[in-house]
Symmetry: C2
Subunit: 197 residues, 2 copies
DNA sequence: GGGATAACCTAGGGATATTAGGTTATGGTT
DNA sequence: AACCATAACCTAATATCCCTAGGTTATCCC
């Protein structure tokens, strides 16, 4: 009998493709096995189980998203970089809705596996280096990084969940939100009185 | 045999409680039935199925979150209102992690059911009225509403997913992000050249 | 060619989602 | 107070799913 040539990465990829096509929570061991022309049990050699598979999809998505962002922002700085960064983020979420939702799941990813995946850490590092142009000092820099990531993720997430009414195209709001973020980063406020920094 | 006195709302509530305790994707028909002391099949009288139940949990969460925000912001204005609004949002997500994740799921909620639930719409309205203090004109107002909602949701979501390293307490970043949002709303930028408004 | 390794399979247990159809409590009617 | 219609709840059954245990067979290396 011919071997399918499975590997953990190929199983993960099949799961990721399936997630984009039918939604993450229709990604089942059986469905992935069918897509690969293999029996369910064969997957457990490469993947610990469904939970593990979902974690791997999340890490794959983080890696892919990071690569796209890195390519988009290469050689850019200032607002140019911010816009490229944000658009790459959003485009990835649009292109791979299933993969993207996998990244949001508060699942317990195998730490050893997570350590091998550069995506999540690199994504944060990229955000830091993109924000260097705005000359923020710590701890403001960290706060700004978290705000930018929160806003981008939140917008994309709400958009995907249909959170924006149809009155105004979300495209237009997106562009203006990036304007606003840029302005904010250029004029990052001092801590308010009473705030422990 | 004594009746359990089930109703769609009671089933939804049981599911919501379970979601907060064991995580949304461990909410199963069987588990909800067990918690209610009832057989699985009995639930289908009140709820169309698992998908429907999750949608109902999401709507319940939206309603509850909206009520909390309304109470927290009552009688406040300006930054005071913004902070109260944001803290109520975040507190709800912390208190009810399962319910909150239900709101993020891009599930197809029964439109007739969604129309009956005031939560999501009211939440947006509350955001609008909170932002009136900043005197923004449309379409900037809508964009600002979307930005604020994106940032709050994104922060809470990333925080729940463990997206923030432990280097700096997320609590501190949260406070500074609210400072930043307030400053941004007070100095909302004009559209950049080349942007269609 | 002959192991050793690992890829893949068969078989099966336990849990779940959902439907169909039967039984019994409950509230209003007379 | 008996009665009846409604709907709440149950039994039974099917299909699917996750996962484990243990057996076969392809593939690689000597």
């Amino acid at each position: 009998m011919a071997r399918a040539g499975l590997t953990a990465d190929r199983v993960t990829l099949a799961g990721a493709e399936l997630a984009d096509e039918v939604g993450l929570d229709h990604v089942t061991m059986s469905a992935v096995a069918r897509r690969l022309g293999v029996k369910d049990a064969s997957l457990y050699v490469h993947v610990r189980g469904l939970e593990d598979l979902r974690g791997r999809i999340a890490l794959l998505a983080a890696d892919e998203k990071t690569i796209r962002i890195a390519e988009a922002t290469a050689g850019r700085a200032g607002k140019d970089a911010l816009v490229a960064f944000a658009n790459a983020w959003r485009a990835y979420a649009h292109d791979h809705p299933g993969r993207y939702t996998a990244t949001q799941i508060p699942t317990q990813i195998d730490p050893e596996l997570a350590a091998r995946a550069p995506g999540p850490r690199r994504a944060v590092e990229l955000t830091y280096s993109m924000l260097r142009a705005y000359a923020l000092a710590e701890p403001d820099l960290t706060d700004a990084v978290r705000l930018v990531r929160s806003t981008l993720h939140g917008f994309v997430s709400l958009e995907a969940a249909g959170g924006f009414a149809h009155a105004r195209p979300s495209e237009a709001s997106w562009a203006r939100c990036l304007d606003a973020l840029h302005a904010l980063l250029e004029h990052w406020p001092a801590p308010c009185e009473g705030d422990p920094s």
